[in-house]
Symmetry: C2
Subunit: 346 residues, 2 copies
């Protein structure tokens, strides 16, 4: 075992000042003579002092930690946490969320605690974690609209910010994207390219975002002379994109423009389109959604609707921080605008 870690007391003795003074220096508080500051700093250096966070947290009532909670389906009890975690991270989306969060947190020497919440037990675990003061607040990313966690958090009056507007109104801050407008953008681009037979590979319709993307696309198409829109539902995975596009192709061999609700499915659509002898974008134009890494690494690179996930995630943490410090008391929401990114598939 290594010797006991040095404490404030030790540093104070070493520097010949009181504990309070060292504390002031460490926390960069006013009213310390620069000469003494120097002295203290040297003493800290010499002793290799690192403030004990538990002690600090005890008195400040702040853990300086936030939880990043990824919520799963809610019911399927057959799914293990392991599988869920792996699946969550298979989607580049979560990597981007983590990115944005870490980008905000790092300059503050904070790091997120990763939690997965699928079952009621898990949700209780999240609540307990926060109530014990192990984290000051939670960032919640749900994969389903009717996730019960937000309501629980709000009820317990715990600081939390959501990614995406909750299905039931909940007094919690959230950030979101104007998905409907994204759908509109996709439709207009396809229309402008002269698309005559549009179709869509939608995301799971249990997810609000999927519904909205589709609604925006469909409405715009309807307003422009395409009242009937063939739609196949996918599950945001590559496979499901392949399957959905295959089905669309079977039923409507003449489609010439497809809006896929995410890039992964757009990639799948491109694959099967090529397999079935269609050229992309010459025979069929394809637009994805997200502008994730694959949109660029795909060949040909995907035309897509950009969702600034990293920025959105950073904004989430910023708002959460305001709630934690008490700067902001009322829930707020920030809605980001999607952007059309034209590459080669449309």
């Amino acid at each position: 075992m290594s010797k006991q870690a040095p404490t404030l007391e030790d540093v104070a003795r070493e520097a010949g000042v009181s504990r309070a003074t060292v504390s002031r220096v460490v926390n960069g508080v006013r009213n310390v003579d620069p000469a003494i500051q120097q002295l203290v700093r040297q003493a800290i250096e010499r002793t290799g002092y690192a403030p004990n966070r538990a002690a600090r947290a005890l008195v400040t009532r702040r853990a300086e930690t936030i939880a990043l909670v990824v919520c799963g389906a809610g019911d399927p009890p057959h799914d293990t946490h392991e599988a869920f975690a792996a699946r969550a991270f298979a989607d580049p989306f979560f990597g981007r969320v983590v990115s944005g969060v870490v980008g905000f947190l790092r300059p503050r020497s904070m790091h997120p605690v990763l939690m997965f919440a699928e079952s009621a037990e898990d949700r209780h675990e999240v609540l307990t974690y926060l109530r014990q003061g192990r984290a000051d607040g939670a960032l919640v990313v749900s994969t389903h609209a009717d996730d019960p966690l937000p309501a629980l958090l709000a009820e317990a009056n715990l600081p939390a910010v959501l990614f995406a507007r909750p299905a039931r109104p909940t007094p919690l801050s959230y950030v979101d994207l104007d998905h409907r407008d994204g759908g509109r953008l996709a439709a207009e681009h396809l229309l402008a390219r002269g698309c005559r037979r549009p179709a869509s590979v939608a995301g799971p319709l249990a997810v609000t975002a999927s519904q909205e993307r589709l609604a925006g696309f469909r409405d715009t198409m309807a307003r422009n002379g395409h009242p009937y829109l063939p739609v196949a539902e996918g599950g945001f995975t590559l496979d499901s994109g392949v399957a959905a596009m295959g089905q669309l192709l079977d039923e409507h061999p003449d489609v010439d423009g497809v809006f896929a609700a995410n890039d992964l499915m757009a990639q799948g659509a491109c694959q099967i389109l090529r397999e079935r002898g269609r050229r992309v974008p010459d025979d069929v134009a394809v637009i994805g959604f997200d502008d994730s890494g694959i949109a660029l690494s795909c060949r040909p690179p995907l035309t897509t609707i950009r969702q600034p996930v990293e920025q959105m995630a950073a904004e989430m943490v910023r708002i959460l921080d305001e709630h934690i410090t008490g700067e902001r008391l009322e829930p707020t929401c920030v809605v980001f605008d999607p952007e059309l990114i034209v590459r080669e598939t449309a």
Copy 2:
């Protein structure tokens, strides 16, 4: 603001016993009359008490938290943390690591703190985090063999376990895979299928694991009458797999068996093989490595060498836990065996 959270004291008053007794009940310690236990439990229920972790951590000197550190390249200063995080999670590998870690931690009501360490500053941050007692130990997953973090951790005598043996001998526990044996397995399978012109899409040769996989494959091939092995180096990404396989095909149009150092590159290889008119596995057999999700979702499903990442990650945490509790004092290592998974590409 909500009212002050209830403390042990409050519960004790409510139950009509002393603080110490409540503490015993909460921590499940011996020597408490069942009747009083019941009483205390009810009081806890009524008050909605949740033990303050900071206070507990202060006296137990344990945060009940571990850090999961993902180490990057080390130097490229052009790379932002954001990009790094996103990239790290683009690889299904990390999702599996997280899976395994969470699988072990969850039953213990623990959750990992996610940290990224690329720069010297980041590494210092990790050290400080541990020295402050915010986490009891670290799980380190380095993407490069010569990462300086393990040595720093060992020097500071902080509990840590590595994924993969460090390049320089370091007094730290680690888990690893017998990569060389994985290469051998791949070679033998290809040989058994009657492969006459083997080649390999290697991983980045700066990574020890890549070297070993290739060495095992090459040695086995050499021992079986294939002294010369065409090799193209990739970067573990889909794109690099496509590029490497393309190059191999240009220089050796007659290859009939390829060992790719991971599934992503194997998938890329399959893609370009098909584009160039080769049937997989009839004209060219392909074997991947990892048995990650894509191996299964790929069409045709990949024959691959399985690396039990989740198990390995869980084992890492188990060992770390032993180090933290002091059950284990000396570094140890656990090397897992790879396994050939035959699907359709070879």
